[in-house]
Structure formats: structure tokens, C-alpha cells
């Protein structure tokens, strides 16, 4: 069902493959609710994480996912490794492979690094975020969360608010949602909108009020605080005023609209605390679902490797 042993991006997946991952994740979610949260399918397999950017939740989520499948999980710590001594990414990855790893979960500030490594390595490469390209497991867990509440993607209107230009989460979600038939609206200042994004079949809004009107799902994105100094924004205060998700604005969306955030949140910058902690928020559910989705990805890729 899944064709590639690598997960490089949502771009590379078909809608059938996406649904297959979501169905598999549903099975693993049940495992997570048991008293003994461990199953044996990846016993004897080794998963190594190689993160060139700080991350807590994604790395921890992959670690737990691997362990719940009975795989060995090792973190290759970049800050203490030979990378700092000038080793190339290629040599680092080949070293990890030589140590006998079956999967490498990689995050890197440069787009295309997982693709570059997938051409060199025999082990499976899982993209945990590459530059402004993709973060496929985040989109999959977002889909999984939406599916839990909305059942059907066809006809759903999803509004994504924030720093689209620098957001791999937004990119992966755009590909995923459009492939499954949802309507995607992007809301952000023109300085943070990527070039010619409309060609992906999305609607672009610069006004949040127009953009979230009657939306079924609202995803807010983390705003990197350094965007202000780079001239993308005059101030974080102005950003919150124009694009912050407040309870008042949330009323414009459908009454049962879901509020999502990939984390970590900047409360008071892109989202008001009352919304983040409110009844429509599924933010913590996303985190839990991330485990099930990552278990599904590891499990299915292991199947391809056989």
C-alpha cells in the first residue's frame, strides 16, 4: 500500500496512502489507551533521531512511538557530535547507517536534506521537518485529529493563519488537505505569504475576519519571534491585533470549528489564551495523536522494507 520506504513529504504521497496511514494510526491509538502501551512489531529494529534544530515534542513523540513498537531508539545528539567538528551531513548519516540503524528521523534547517539522504542511504529516512519544505508527520497527525471530529474531508473548510512562508507545517497541510478534498484558506500578511502559493489551489486572505468566516477548522501557526527584526512585521503587537486568534474572532467561524496549533505556542502573539485553552481547542489531542500517527508511519515503512 505504501510504496516508498522513506517518508519525505506529503507531496510524494497519494490520497490512498494518506488514508492507509490514518487507518493504521487508528489501530495504534487503541494501543495507547491500554494499560500496557507496548506492542512487538519493531522488535530488533533501531530508530535514530538526527535533529539539527531544537525540538522537544517531535523528537519525544518519535522516541515514544518507536519504543511502543518495541524498537530501540537512539538520539544522535548534534550539539555534542562530530557535526560541530565539521563533519558533513552525508558522512554523519552514513555513520549512523554503519551503526546498524534501520530508520533515521531527521530534522534539518535546509529544505531537501531528507531527499538528499534518501538517495544515499539504504535505511529509511523519515522527514521530521526540512527547512520551509515539509513536516509530513505533523500534517498526518493534524488530519488524524480532524478526522476524529469531522469524519469527512470533502467540503471541509480549513483556515491556516500565520507565517505561511516559513512554515513547513502549513506546506504539508496544504498538500494533505487539498489531496483529500478539503478547501484551504491561507491567512497572513503579504510579507509572510510564499510566492505564487495560489497555484496550489488555495485561497489567500490578508484579513483574518474574511478568512475564518464559516471555517470548520482553524490552524494557527507559531510566529518565529525574529520575524520582526527581519522586517516582515512592524511589531508583534500589531501582528496580534491583525492576525491573533481571539474569542471574538472565533465566533466568525462555525460554532463547532476546531482550533488547532502545532506548538509550541506563543500565547498573546498568534493565539489568545482563552482560545488555546477553550472548548474548541484540540491542541493537546493533536499531541496525543502524534504518537499514534508516528507509530503508524514507522510500522508501515518497516513493512515496505521487508
Amino acid at each position: 500500500m505504501i510504496k516508498s520506504k522513506h517518508l519525505l513529504g506529503i507531496k510524494e504521497l497519494t490520497s490512498e496512502e494518506i488514508y492507509h496511514i490514518l487507518d493504521t494510526a487508528a489501530g495504534f491509538r487503541d494501543v495507547l489507551h491500554r494499560d500496557i502501551k507496548k506492542v512487538p512489531p519493531l522488535r530488533g529494529k533501531t530508530v535514530v533521531s538526527l535533529f539539527f534544530e531544537p525540538s522537544t515534542r517531535t523528537k519525544t513523540s518519535f522516541a515514544l512511538a518507536a519504543k511502543r513498537l518495541s524498537a530501540d531508539f537512539v538520539n544522535f545528539s548534534v550539539s555534542t557530535s562530530s557535526v560541530l567538528k565539521g563533519e558533513t551531513i552525508k558522512d554523519t548519516a552514513l555513520t549512523i547507517q554503519a551503526l546498524g540503524a534501520d530508520f533515521v528521523v531527521i530534522r534539518h534547517p535546509s529544505a531537501g536534506v531528507p531527499h538528499f539522504l534518501s538517495n544515499i542511504l539504504d535505511m529509511s529516512v523519515i522527514n521530521a521537518g526540512d527547512g520551509a519544505n515539509e513536516h509530513p508527520t505533523q500534517a498526518l497527525l493534524d488530519l488524524f485529529t480532524i478526522q476524529t471530529h469531522k469524519k469527512n474531508f470533502q467540503g471541509l473548510t480549513v483556515a491556516i493563519i500565520g507565517d505561511i512562508a516559513h512554515s513547513r507545517v502549513a506546506k504539508s497541510n496544504i498538500y494533505a488537505l487539498t489531496k483529500l478534498g478539503a478547501k484551504v484558506r491561507l491567512i497572513c500578511p503579504p510579507t509572510l505569504m510564499p510566492a505564487e502559493i495560489g497555484k496550489l489551489g488555495v485561497d489567500v486572505f490578508h484579513s483574518i475576519d474574511d478568512g475564518i468566516k464559516k471555517a470548520d477548522v482553524i490552524m494557527t501557526l507559531r510566529l518565529q519571534l525574529e520575524r520582526q527584526s527581519k522586517g516582515f512585521l512592524p511589531s508583534l503587537e500589531e501582528y496580534f491585533k491583525l492576525y491573533g486568534l481571539t474569542s471574538e474572532r472565533l465566533k466568525l467561524a462555525k460554532s463547532d470549528a476546531l482550533v488547532m496549533h502545532p506548538g509550541p505556542m506563543n500565547r498573546g502573539v498568534e493565539i489568545e489564551s482563552a482560545v488555546a485553552d477553550g472548548p474548541q481547542s484540540v491542541i493537546l489531542e493533536q499531541v496525543t495523536n502524534g504518537l499514534a500517527v508516528r507509530m503508524a508511519v514507522l510500522y508501515l515503512l518497516a513493512g515496505v522494507r521487508k
Binding site: I89, S110, G112, H115, F116, G131, N133, E196
Partner: protein, 424 residues
């Protein structure tokens, strides 16, 4: 020693010659041109049947990397790559280590070229000391040492006042100021063209405006000063329009583009192949069309290579940190020939853009087959098809996005100052 080239189709735009002729070389000079079969006997006969016999190509934009980056290329390997590609003259850019901003570096390049070079090398001096956009180099001294033009290539002259002064002061010597047009703030962090493809692959884009605002600035300064401006590596539709308009207004500007700007679009970068990373970046289909139109109507005078060889280690890495540049000498003519095959212009026009005009801009008397001129001649089989294999390049730089391309037009022999190089 005398050499007679016979049976070939001799094309020399300078003399308006296109026909089957015999060409006689004696020593380092062209001795005579005769109707086919009428040439005198010679020590060596070269049968050019089925080939064109044309003036040796002139590349006015080459990076030979020496001194300082010998692991990427040397004068020896770079000039070998040149003759392999049909070039008998290369003009080397000054962004070496140290920068060619002093007599000693210029003299080093010339001496090394004389000793180890396979073709004629003309150094281009820096415009500003250390290419820092602060102080002008000593133009007179560098010209006397052997430089023939000035450029801070690799870097723009960021200081508009210094650029004005360079265009003004160089009028004493009537030499071109070659501008690498790039607004460094607009291009900051960018690694490819900004557009739909950069959005799709998630790489930082370089907007076309980063080039065009500097083209516009330099055209204004050229108009203001009456200096001689040459715009290097034109890559965008907007730049073509600006230059076309400037020429129509009588501004003293010439311009070049490179084969990759009319042969590739940014869509290829979906593969993240770092051999496609070049500055300015490969643009979109509409830019390619505009570049071709500019070549056709004379807005763009020259096809140069911007030969930028790199070591494999500088390319075999993540796209963001890979080096910018394409090893271009050994594929340039065949890519130019595609324009002829597409019907854009005839082969004579191609020779004008790759030999005669660059020579005229640089004022070096090359790119012609006139009697008594240097015996720089290239013999090309324009019908022979081949598959590019960059691992066989004579350049140290194997960094070609055209690897594995099926091209037509093989350089059979290159004669550089009377010395014959042959392949196949």
C-alpha cells in the same frame, strides 16, 4: 610548421565568409584562405569534411580559480577545458585568492598561462580593491600589466558612487566595466529563483528584482557618465527589457547571458540537484523566452559561460550550503547550437555571439579568420550527437546540470595559437 585545413565549411562573420574553403596556418598565424582544393601543400593536412571551421570561441566570463582555489580548477585544467569546448580565448574573473587587484596577481596569471595554459588567457581586474566596493584599483597599472577589463564579478559594486566613479574613470582607457548585478539585501539567503517552484521545494528564493534593480541603477549610471558598461550573466525578462530600452536610447551598454539561462528552468530544482544552484539563479520559462528573444534581436550581445568549476565536496551536500556555479566551458557551444536548431538564428549569429562580439567588446582582435590574425580555429561536427558525461570533463569541476543530456555538436579539433588539440 604549416597546417592546411581542407574540406570544411569555413564560416567567418567578420569577413562575411561562409563556404567550403581551405585555410592555411603558418606557425601561430593564419596565412591564407583559398577555395576548396586550391590550398597549397603543407606539413600537416587536417581533413575537416563534414565539419564547420570557425574562429576559436572567446569566453569573456570564466573563473579559472587560480590563484587560491586550485582544488576547484587551475589555469592548466581550466584552459584545457576551454579548448575541449572550442574556446581559444578565455577572460578570467578576478575573484581569486588573492583577488586580482594588483599587478603581481595579473602577472602571475599571465605567466602561469604562458607556461601551462592551452589557450590565450586575458585577466579581468577587479574594479575595487579586494572587491570590497570601497576604493578603485589602479586601472592604468593593471591594464599595463595585461588586464583588459574590470569587474567585481562574484560580488556587485554595492556602493553606487564608486560604481559611478569606475564608469567615469575608465573612460580614460575606453575599457568595459563588467557588472555583476545583484542587490545583496534582496538576494540575502536565497539559493534559487523566487517563485512557485521555490514555494514548492521550500528553498529561499532570490527575486528577479534583485538583479533588475541593479541593472536599472547601472544603466542610469552609464547614461550619466558615458562610460562603457557590460552587464554580466543576464537572467531575467525584466533585465532584457531594461537593456533593450537603454540601447534604444543610445546608452553605451553591452550584455551577456549564459547557456544555462536559455536551456533550463527552475522546475528542474524539484530534484534538489545542487548542480542547478547558480548565481544568478535559473529562472522561469518566460525568462528563458525573453533571453532568447534578447539574443535574437541583439539586446544580448554575447553568450558567455560563467564557467564556475567546483570540487565535488562543495556540491555534494545540502542545497542551502552547496556552492553556486556551473562548470560550463565544455557544454556551451552544443547548448548554443540548440538555439540554431530551434530556428532562433543561424550559425553565423551563434559564432558572432560566442567569438566575434566578445572579442570586440574586450578589444583583443580575436574571433576572426582574417589573414595574419592569430591561428585560433575550432573545427566542429555540428551534426554529431553525444551524451554529456561530466565525469569526462577536462575541467576539475564536474558540476554540470547538463550531465547525461543528449546534445548535438562535437568539437573535433581546436587550434590555439597554431597548436592543434584533437579528440574523438
Amino acid at each position: 610548421m604549416s597546417i592546411l585545413i581542407t574540406n570544411g565549411r569555413v564560416i567567418d562573420p567578420e569577413q562575411n565568409i561562409d563556404g567550403y574553403n581551405d585555410l592555411l596556418i603558418k606557425g601561430r598565424k593564419i596565412q591564407g584562405l583559398y577555395p576548396k582544393g586550391k590550398g597549397p601543400s603543407a606539413d600537416k593536412i587536417i581533413d575537416a569534411a563534414g565539419c564547420i571551421v570557425i574562429p576559436g570561441l572567446v569566453d569573456m566570463h570564466t573563473h579559472l580559480r587560480e590563484p587560491g582555489f586550485e582544488y576547484k580548477e587551475t589555469i592548466k585544467t581550466g584552459t584545457l577545458a576551454a579548448v575541449k569546448g572550442g574556446f581559444t580565448t578565455v577572460c578570467c574573473m578576478p575573484n581569486t585568492k588573492p583577488v586580482n587587484d594588483t599587478i603581481s596577481v595579473t602577472e602571475f596569471i599571465l605567466e602561469k598561462s604562458k607556461k601551462e595554459g592551452s589557450c590565450t588567457v586575458y585577466p579581468i581586474g577587479a574594479i575595487t580593491r579586494g572587491q570590497k566596493s570601497e576604493e578603485l584599483v589602479e586601472l592604468e597599472a593593471l591594464l599595463k600589466a595585461g588586464c583588459i577589463a574590470f569587474s567585481d564579478d562574484g560580488h556587485p559594486v554595492t556602493n553606487s558612487l564608486i560604481m559611478r566613479r569606475a564608469l567615469e574613470y575608465s573612460k580614460i582607457f575606453n575599457v568595459p566595466i563588467i557588472s555583476h548585478c545583484e542587490d545583496l539585501k534582496l538576494s540575502e539567503g536565497g539559493v534559487m529563483n523566487e517563485g512557485f517552484v521555490s514555494t514548492i521545494v521550500g528553498l529561499r528564493g532570490i527575486p528577479k528584482a534583485a538583479e533588475e534593480v541593479m541593472v536599472a541603477r547601472d544603466l542610469s549610471l552609464c547614461e550619466l557618465t558615458g562610460g562603457r558598461l557590460h552587464i554580466a550573466h543576464v537572467s531575467t525578462e525584466g533585465s532584457v527589457k531594461l537593456i533593450r530600452d537603454a540601447k534604444a536610447r543610445g546608452i553605451n551598454v553591452t550584455a551577456e547571458t549564459c547557456p544555462h539561462y536559455f536551456s533550463l528552468t527552475d522546475e528542474a530544482i524539484i530534484s534538489y540537484d545542487t548542480n542547478l544552484k547558480v548565481n544568478p539563479p535559473i529562472r522561469t520559462a518566460s525568462d528563458v523566452e525573453a533571453i532568447k528573444e534578447g539574443l535574437k534581436d541583439g539586446t544580448i550581445d554575447v553568450i558567455a559561460t560563467d564557467h564556475a568549476p567546483h570540487h565535488l565536496d562543495d556540491k555534494n551536500k545540502e542545497f542551502d550550503s552547496a556552492a553556486f556555479g556551473i562548470s560550463g566551458l565544455e557544454t556551451a557551444f552544443a547548448l548554443g547550437l540548440q538555439l540554431v536548431d530551434q530556428g532562433l538564428f543561424d550559425i553565423r549569429q551563434l559564432i558572432i555571439k560566442m567569438a566575434l562580439t566578445p572579442s570586440r567588446i574586450m578589444g583583443i582582435g580575436k574571433g576572426v579568420l582574417t589573414v595574419d590574425s592569430d591561428a585560433d580555429i575550432t573545427i566542429i561536427n555540428t551534426e554529431k550527437e553525444y551524451r554529456v558525461d561530466s565525469s569526462t570533463f577536462l575541467s576539475k569541476g564536474k558540476n554540470s546540470p547538463f550531465n547525461k543530456w543528449e546534445l548535438k555538436g562535437t568539437v573535433e579539433k581546436t587550434i590555439s595559437m597554431g597548436k592543434v588539440f584533437e579528440w574523438n
